[in-house]
């Protein structure tokens, strides 16, 4: 539709056509660029602050370029900063997050794929109801299950552990991944499955040989979405883990909320950057897929 609008040129103007068009373009690009600057500003501030020595922060402007560039704050955030009473830096928590996020992403994506396959290609009576049950799980305010989940993890002996967090993220992640895969598989013609059945393939064979190879894009969407969600999660992390088992986000929040002594803003910003880099990288590399995951809950099909 952009083309249709671009083709439309007003004819009745007093100003010369070219000037008017240039003015129009300015009115479009102007706000877009201002907005872009506003959106980039916090990232810019985080980066420059993390590269400044502390004295420059207290003396200079928070938005300007550093006069002396130092990676000291990054080093401190990574291996020295105090989280509670432990001064280990973010390193062990980064590992925690990786240990949590990788199995949780793989499991939830795999289960979502097979669920989506069943709910579209092997529909059984009540399949739609099952889908509705799962779908509501996407919109669950997690406060409503915090207390029972904490009790259950305790009963299972998973309280405060990384496997416990993996379980929580898989349980609620299934809802999203099933939604992704179901909406993707709905657009694959049913005749594909029928043709494979006539060819003699069974339930699992059709999944492996016919369906899964066509679903690379949605696998990427699902993995990216789950990775971002789980990596960025704070509520489950802070509710179900403590001390050395916490994920990144919890550790970051602890560093930032330390109130003793002179506030180390450069270390805070470096720590925030370290927490942000994995998801930012994924976004930069595969932004297109990220957007698809984002809009999956809204745009039909």
């Amino acid at each position: 539709m952009a083309n249709a609008l671009a083709q439309h040129k007003p004819i009745d103007e007093a100003l010369p056509r070219k000037t008017r068009m240039r003015l129009g373009r300015l009115l479009i690009y102007g706000p877009l660029c201002v907005m872009a600057a506003l959106y980039l500003m916090p990232l810019w501030v985080m980066v420059v602050t993390s590269l400044k020595p502390l004295d420059e922060i207290y003396g200079g402007s928070f938005i300007g370029l550093p006069q002396t560039v130092t990676l000291e704050a990054w080093r401190a955030a990574w291996s020295e900063a105090c989280i509670g009473t432990e001064c280990t830096g973010l390193k062990p928590y980064f590992t925690n997050s990786l240990l949590m996020v990788i199995p949780a992403v793989v499991l939830s994506t795999g289960i979502g794929a097979i669920n989506g396959y069943i709910l579209t290609k092997w529909r059984f009576p009540g399949a739609n109801f099952v889908f509705g049950l799962l779908l509501f799980g996407c919109f669950l305010p997690y406060q409503a299950i915090l207390i029972p989940m904490a009790r259950t993890l305790g009963l299972l002996g998973l309280a405060g552990s990384i496997p416990g967090l993996v379980f929580v993220h898989v349980a609620y992640g299934i809802c999203f991944t099933t939604l992704f895969f179901r909406n993707f598989f709905v657009s694959l013609p049913d005749e594909l499955t029928k043709a494979a059945m006539v060819d003699g393939a069974g339930f699992f064979r059709i999944f492996w040989s016919v369906i899964l190879p066509t679903s690379i894009p949605i696998i990427v969407v699902s993995c990216i979405w789950q990775f971002t969600q789980i990596w960025n999660d704070f509520l489950f992390g802070v509710s179900f883990t403590s001390g050395g088992n916490s994920p990144m986000t919890v550790a970051l929040n602890n560093i930032v909320n330390v109130t003793t002594g002179r506030k180390q803003y450069n270390v805070d910003m470096a720590a925030a950057m370290i927490a942000a880099i994995p998801t930012l990288l994924v976004y930069i590399i595969a932004g297109r897929y990220f957007v698809r995951g984002l809009t999956a809950g809204a745009v039909k099909g």
Binding site: E191, K194, V198, P213
Partner: protein, 366 residues
């Protein structure tokens, strides 16, 4: 031997009856076309023959063997789908040999079969491409190749040409006919296109509302449709159905059709069995007259009718003339430039081919 018998087959979804006791039986080498509008149950019936849908009642027998409980792979069938259903991530070659791989056919034999099928369909040069790199017609050929390598007892086609453009559709139709002549396999073919049915079939089953309206060879379906529905569905433009009256004069039947502003039209010499003649003498009936049964006549000929032509539509080889007859709009297929719009014309009717329908049951009167 590869006969197909569909014996009082029913399909219900809950209380909804989609197929009502359908019985069709065809012999080895027959080309059966299931013809009907969408929702008539023809695709459901095909899926039931394939084993892709459960059979609610009755029996399907392929080569004399009941297949109701068999899964598709055990029915010795192959199927070509409307969307072709090519596996998008596999090359043409892997698409064609996928079924053989599952059945554990050795590689050398697979390769031979793929080559033979590709040769037959002239797609050898496409074997290493992906479906997305093929045109519609090429995809269609690959889908047929996938079916051919199975060497099944029964080929099933589900509207295979409806995704092609008009020109290609005609070409592929010829191709399918040639293939049938070459392989001699029994075929069941679903379509809503009556021309495909006429050109391809040895047997046509016209379906409506889950019931077979008529099962015959195509020419019979065309010449002597079993009821008004079939008469209107087969043929384009459709058969004209004109209300009128039968009068028996000296042992021969005459059609009497009322006209609005003129005296009633009388067409003597209508073919009618003596039993039907005695039953319908003096009664109202529906006359079925195909557009090409009209010809340009002269005023003296017996049974010539005078009409006011409303519209003419030249199609190239013929001209279609539209006029009122017996209170309904009637189309005649005439040679070009013989009649003019908004002028009167004298037409003759090929009386030997006129068919009669009962006005209440709309069934053919024999």
């Amino acid at each position: 031997m590869s006969t197909l018998e569909i014996d009082r087959v029913r399909k219900t979804y809950g209380s909804l009856e989609v197929l009502k006791e359908v019985s069709i039986s065809i012999g080895t080498g027959d080309f059966l076309v299931l013809l009907g509008p969408s929702g008539c149950g023809k695709s459901t019936l095909l899926n039931m023959i394939a084993g892709l849908e459960n059979i609610s009642g009755g029996e399907v027998r392929i080569a004399g063997k009941v297949v109701n409980e068999l899964s598709p792979k055990d029915r010795d069938i192959a199927m070509v789908f409307q969307s072709y259903a090519l596996y998008p991530t596999m090359t043409v070659r892997r698409n064609i040999e996928f079924g053989m791989k599952i059945r554990g056919v050795p590689a050398a034999q697979r390769d031979k079969a793929v080559r033979a099928a590709a040769d037959l369909l002239q797609i050898t040069h496409l074997l290493d491409r992906k479906p997305s790199q093929l045109s519609g017609g090429q995809r269609q050929r690959v889908a047929m190749g996938r079916a051919i390598v199975r060497q099944p007892k029964l080929f099933l086609f589900d509207e295979p040409l409806s995704n092609l453009d008009a020109k290609l559709r005609v070409d592929m139709r010829t191709e399918i006919k040639r293939l049938h002549a070459r392989l001699g396999t029994t075929i069941v073919y679903v379509t809503h296109d009556q021309i495909e049915a006429m050109t391809l079939a040895t047997r046509v089953a016209v379906m409506k509302g889950g019931v077979v309206q008529q099962l015959d060879d195509p020419q019979t379906v065309y010449d002597r449709p079993a009821n008004v529905y079939v008469a209107k569905f087969v043929g384009s433009p459709a058969m004209n159905i004109i209300p009128g009256k039968v009068e028996i004069e000296g042992g021969s039947a005459t059609a009497v059709i009322d006209m609005a502003m003129r005296p009633a039209v009388r067409i003597p010499g209508i073919q009618l069995s003596s039993r039907a003649a005695s039953r319908y003498a003096g009664r109202k009936v529906l006359f079925g007259i195909r557009p090409e049964m009209f010809s340009v006549g002269n005023g003296q000929a017996q049974g010539a009718i005078s009409v006011d032509v409303d519209v003419v539509e030249p199609t190239g080889p013929d001209t279609l003339a539209v006029f009122q007859l017996g209170g309904v709009e009637v189309t005649a297929r005439l040679p070009p430039k013989q009649v003019n719009a908004r002028a009167s014309a004298i037409l003759a009717v090929d009386r030997s081919k006129v068919v009669l329908f009962d006005p209440d049951s709309e069934e053919l009167i024999n």
